[in-house]
C-alpha cells in the first residue's frame, strides 16, 4: 500500500485552474474520490446496486440518497441524475461509489453488481421529432428532370480531445455552503440544477469556473450532470469530493460524436441547375437530447444551404434509441449536412462535366430567380460571390482541376504507381445568432463600468484569450484609454448571471455590438456625469431581420459569414495515405478586428478538423493560405466556418484523386483501398 505525503492545498482561482488539480483548502479535510456506477444493460427496470464486501470508508450512493429531486432540467427536457427505475441506455449512471483512495475506488467500481429486470416492452428505434420545409412540388417535378443523382451520406463527427476529462470538485461538507469547481459552460443551468438536486438555496451556492479546452458542445449540459453528481456525493459523505471521468468514459459518453445519415435526391438540368431536390436527414438523438428542437431546426435550415432549387423538400427526423444522449449542440453538427450538400453539388458537376464553381453559381443565382417568390429561406448570396471568385484565383483552381482530371484519365490507361492528385472546392456560410432557437441570443446584456481611477470593467463571461484581447483592444480604442486599464469580470451576482451557454453568446458578432454600445454610451456621458459611470446595454432586434418562427421562413441568423475553401491533396497509391498539400480559404466576415487572431483561429480549426477526417491518422496541411474579403460592415463570427467548408472540399479532392464519390466520413486506409480497387 502506497504511503505518500499529502498534496498541498491549491488556491482556487477563478478560471485559472483545472478542477482535477484542486484540493481541499484545509489540510485536515480529507478528499474523497467518486466513480460512477454504470448500467450494464441498455434497457430494463433497475433492481439493485450492490457490492458484497464494501470496505469501510467506501459508500455507494443511489437515487434514493439524493437530498432533492432526482432530476436535471435542461430547457424542456429532464433526465434522471441517477437512474432510479427505468434504464435508458448501456452505461447510464445508476449510482456513485465514493472512497478515500482513487485507484481503489476505480477498481472497486468494476466489482459492483447491478441487477435489472428486462423491460416489458423493449424500446426500439423510433422516429421522434421532425421539421419539414417544402417549396414547389418535389414529387411532381423530380421524374421530369433530365438528370438525377441520388446519394446517401453517412457521417460521424468524432473529434478526439486530450484535455482534462469532464468532472467536478465539490465541497458540500458544511450544511449551508455548496462549493462547486468545474469547467462549466453554462453557469446558470448548473446553478438551477444544483438548487434542484441538493434542495438548497440559490445564495448558498458558489460556483468556480475552471479551465476547459474541450470544444465539444455536448459538455455544456453533461458537465452540469457530473457537477450535480459530485455535489450530491459530497453532501452525503460530508467531505469534499472529486468526480473525474476516465478517458474511456469521456470518449464513450461525451466525445462519442454524433452520427447522421443524409439522403439527397437531386434532379437537375443539363447546365447543372437543380430543379428538384429532396433532402432527408436522420439524426440519432439517443435516449434523449436536451437541445433536440434546436438541432432539428438548424439541420433543416442548413440542409440546402443558400441554394435555391425550384422545388424543394427538406425533412429532418430525430431517432430515439437506447444509446447515450446526443452529445452536440446544433452548431457542432451542421457541418455534417454541409458536407453532404456540397458533395452532392460536386457529384452534379462531375455528371454534367461542368466546373464545380460554375455549378455552385448556377444554383446560388438560378436563372429565373423571380419565380422563387416567398422562398422559405432567404440569404444574401451576393456576399459569397467575391469569396468564391477569389479562392479560385489564389488556388489556381480552374487549371489545377482540369489538369488533375487528365491525370485521372491517364490513371486508367497506365500503371498507377505515382501519387495522384485531387483538388476540391466548397462554399458555405457560418450563421450566428440562430433566430429559431428557444434560447434567444438577442436577449443578452452587457455592462461596462469606468471607475474614478479610470479602470474599466466589462462584466460578462470570460471569453477565450484571443477574443478577450480583441475586446480589450476595442474597448481601449473606444474609451481612449490604456489596454492595461481594461478588465473583464465574470463574477456574477444574482440577476446579472448570463442565461445562455458561453458557446452561444456570439462573442464577436453580438457581444462586440453590445460592447461598442456600452463604450459609446460611456463616452457620451463621460464629461457630463461624474465617475463612476456604468452603461448596461441590451440588443434590440435589428429591423433587417425577417425571421418568422411561426411559418419558419426568412433569414434564420442574426449575422452570416460567407466563405469558400479549396483543398489540394495527393494520394499515395501504394500506402493509400492522403497527404494534404494546400488549403486555401477566402472569407467574407465584415470588418476583421485582429487579422493575426483571425488567421490563427482558422489555422487551428483546420488542424482540428483535418485530424478527424481520416481515422487513426494525424493529418495536417503543408500550407494554409487565408484571404479575408474585408469590409467596413459589422464583424461576424468565423470560428466555425472551417468545419462547414473543409470536410466537403477534402471529400471532393479525394473523389477526384480516386475517381469514386466519397459518401462516408471519416475515411480510413481500408475505405480508400476499397474505393481505389472498385471499378
Amino acid at each position: 500500500m502506497a504511503t505518500r505525503k499529502k498534496a498541498p492545498a491549491a488556491k482556487i482561482n477563478k478560471s485559472s485552474a483545472f478542477y482535477s488539480d484542486i484540493r481541499p483548502a484545509s489540510q485536515s479535510a480529507e478528499l474523497m474520490y467518486a466513480c460512477l456506477i454504470r448500467s450494464p444493460f441498455e434497457s430494463g427496470v433497475l433492481q439493485s446496486v450492490l457490492m458484497d464486501e464494501l470496505p469501510p470508508d467506501y459508500r455507494i450512493i443511489t437515487a434514493k440518497d439524493i437530498p432533492g429531486e432526482n432530476k436535471i432540467t435542461t430547457l424542456d427536457t429532464s433526465c434522471a441524475l441517477l437512474a432510479y427505475n427505468k434504464i435508458s441506455y448501456r452505461g447510464q449512471p445508476v449510482g456513485i461509489l465514493v472512497g478515500p483512495d482513487r485507484t481503489k475506488t476505480e477498481s472497486l467500481v468494476q466489482k459492483i453488481t447491478v441487477t435489472a429486470l428486462p423491460s416489458q416492452s423493449p424500446d426500439t428505434i423510433e422516429k421522434k421529432t421532425q421539421r419539414t420545409i417544402t417549396y414547389g412540388d418535389f414529387d411532381a417535378t423530380y421524374s421530369e428532370c433530365p438528370h438525377h443523382i441520388e446519394n446517401t451520406y453517412h457521417v460521424t463527427h468524432t473529434e478526439k480531445y486530450f484535455s482534462e476529462p469532464n468532472g467536478a470538485y465539490a465541497d458540500c461538507s458544511k450544511a449551508d455552503e455548496v462549493l462547486v469547481c468545474t469547467p462549466t459552460k453554462w453557469i446558470n443551468h448548473l446553478r438551477k440544477n444544483l438548487v434542484q438536486v441538493l434542495s438548497c438555496k440559490d445564495e448558498q451556492i458558489s460556483i468556480q469556473k475552471t479551465i476547459s479546452s474541450n470544444k465539444n458542445t455536448g459538455t455544456i449540459w453533461n458537465n452540469t450532470v457530473l457537477a450535480c453528481q459530485a455535489a450530491v456525493a459530497s453532501r452525503i459523505v460530508e467531505k469534499p469530493v472529486l468526480l473525474m471521468l476516465s478517458r474511456e468514459e469521456q470518449e464513450q459518453y461525451i466525445d462519442s460524436g454524433d452520427a447522421l445519415t443524409v439522403s439527397h435526391k437531386t434532379g437537375f438540368e443539363d447546365d447543372g441547375e437543380i430543379t428538384s431536390a429532396s433532402v432527408t436527414v436522420m439524426f440519432n438523438a439517443g435516449c434523449y437530447a436536451p437541445f433536440l428542437t434546436e438541432i432539428i431546426d438548424r439541420l433543416a435550415v442548413t440542409a440546402m444551404g443558400a441554394y435555391k432549387p425550384l422545388n424543394l423538400r427538406i425533412e429532418v427526423f430525430a431517432l430515439a434509441s437506447n444509446t447515450p444522449p446526443a452529445a452536440s449542440l446544433s452548431n457542432g453538427i451542421e457541418n455534417l449536412v454541409c458536407f453532404a450538400l456540397e458533395s452532392q453539388l460536386d457529384a452534379i458537376s462531375r455528371e454534367t462535366g461542368l466546373n464545380p464553381a460554375e455549378v455552385k453559381l448556377r444554383n446560388y443565382f438560378p436563372r429565373a430567380t423571380h419565380t422563387r417568390y416567398n422562398y422559405p429561406l432567404s440569404f444574401n448570396t451576393e456576399l459569397l460571390l467575391p469569396a468564391l471568385d477569389e479562392v479560385q484565383k489564389i488556388s489556381d483552381f480552374q487549371r489545377r482541376h482540369v489538369s488533375y482530371s487528365f491525370h485521372q484519365l491517364e490513371k486508367h490507361t497506365s500503371r498507377w504507381s505515382l501519387p495522384v492528385r485531387g483538388i476540391g472546392l466548397s462554399s458555405g456560410y457560418q450563421g450566428s445568432g440562430f433566430l429559431a432557437s428557444s434560447l434567444d441570443q438577442l436577449q443578452q446584456t452587457m455592462s461596462v463600468t469606468i471607475d474614478t481611477e479610470g479602470q474599466v470593467t466589462i462584466s460578462h463571461h470570460m471569453p477565450s484569450s484571443s477574443i478577450s484581447d480583441i475586446w480589450t483592444e476595442q474597448a481601449a480604442a473606444l474609451l481612449d484609454c490604456e489596454k492595461s486599464n481594461i478588465h473583464i469580470d465574470d463574477s456574477y451576482n444574482g440577476s446579472d448571471e448570463q442565461l445562455l451557454p458561453d458557446i452561444m453568446t456570439g462573442d464577436i458578432s453580438i457581444l462586440m455590438t453590445l460592447l461598442k454600445k456600452c463604450c459609446t454610451s460611456i463616452q457620451r456621458s463621460r464629461f457630463r456625469q461624474p465617475l463612476p459611470i456604468t452603461a448596461k446595454k441590451k440588443l434590440s432586434k435589428p429591423k433587417h431581420l425577417s425571421w418568422d418562427n411561426e411559418t419558419f421562413t426568412g433569414t434564420p441568423f442574426y449575422s452570416i459569414s460567407w466563405g469558400a475553401a479549396v483543398v489540394e491533396l495527393s494520394l499515395d497509391p501504394l500506402l493509400y495515405a492522403v497527404h494534404v498539400k494546400n488549403v486555401w480559404y477566402t472569407i467574407h466576415s465584415g470588418k476583421i478586428l485582429n487579422r493575426k487572431t483571425a488567421e490563427d483561429s482558422i489555422k487551428k480549426s483546420t488542424e482540428r478538423i483535418l485530424a478527424y477526417l481520416v481515422k487513426d491518422t494525424q493529418l495536417s496541411a503543408d500550407n494554409i493560405i487565408i484571404e479575408f474579403d474585408e469590409s467596413e460592415e459589422e464583424p461576424r463570427e468565423i470560428g466555425d466556418i472551417v468545419q462547414n467548408l473543409l470536410p466537403a472540399a477534402f471529400a471532393a479532392a479525394v473523389t477526384q484523386a480516386v475517381g469514386k464519390h466519397v459518401t462516408r466520413l471519416p475515411l480510413d486506409a481500408d475505405s480508400i483501398y476499397r474505393m481505389v480497387q472498385s471499378e
Partner: protein
C-alpha cells in the same frame, strides 16, 4: 516496496507498489503539472524529465525510476532554460492551453538542447505529434526556433563574459 529517486532536486524514498503508475504518484504528491491526457503515452500531457530525457509518466511504473533524477514542469519552471523557452514562446504569441504544456515544453527543451539550430521542418514534425491543437502549429514552431535563438544568445553571452 521502497523506491528511492530524486524528485525535483530532493532525494526521496516512496513506499509504493512496484507496478503503480508514476503519474499517479507525482500527482498525489502535488505535482499537478503532470496531467493525465490519454493514459497511452500518446498525448504528452504527463511528460516529465527522467535523467534529462522527456518521458510520458503514464507509461512508467514507480519501479522504473529507481535511482533516477525526475523533474516535473514545476521545478523546470525555476530553471534558466525555461526563461529562454518562455521568451521565445512569448515573442511568437504562443499560448498553450495549460493541459498539454508539459509535452510541448519538454519537447522544445529536448530539441534546443540537442540541436543548436533545429530545422523548422523537424520542429513541426515533432510538434505535430501532439494531438492537442490548442495553438497554431507554425506559431509553435516559430516559438521553439525563437527560444533556440534566445538560448544560444544567452549561452554565447555567458561564454564571452567568461573570456
Amino acid at each position: 516496496m521502497k523506491i528511492p529517486f530524486n524528485l525535483n532536486g530532493d532525494d526521496i524514498v516512496i513506499d509504493s507498489e512496484p507496478d503503480e503508475k508514476l503519474i499517479n504518484i507525482l500527482r498525489d504528491s502535488g505535482n499537478f503539472s503532470v496531467k493525465c491526457g490519454c493514459n497511452t503515452g500518446h498525448c504528452g500531457s504527463c511528460t516529465i524529465l527522467v535523467d534529462d530525457k522527456p518521458v510520458p509518466s503514464c507509461l512508467l511504473t514507480a519501479a522504473a525510476v529507481r535511482d533516477c533524477v525526475v523533474v516535473t514542469l514545476e521545478a523546470f519552471r525555476k530553471n534558466i532554460f525555461w526563461k529562454d523557452i518562455e521568451t521565445g514562446f512569448r515573442q511568437c504569441g504562443v499560448h498553450l492551453c495549460g493541459y498539454c504544456d508539459a509535452g510541448k515544453i519538454f519537447a522544445a527543451y529536448d530539441l534546443i538542447k540537442t540541436e543548436q539550430r533545429p530545422a523548422k521542418e523537424n520542429v513541426i514534425e515533432i510538434m505535430n505529434q501532439f494531438p492537442c491543437k490548442c495553438c497554431e502549429i507554425e506559431a509553435l514552431a516559430n516559438g521553439v526556433l525563437a527560444a533556440a535563438t534566445v538560448h544560444k544568445k544567452r549561452m554565447t553571452g555567458k561564454q564571452n563574459g567568461k573570456q
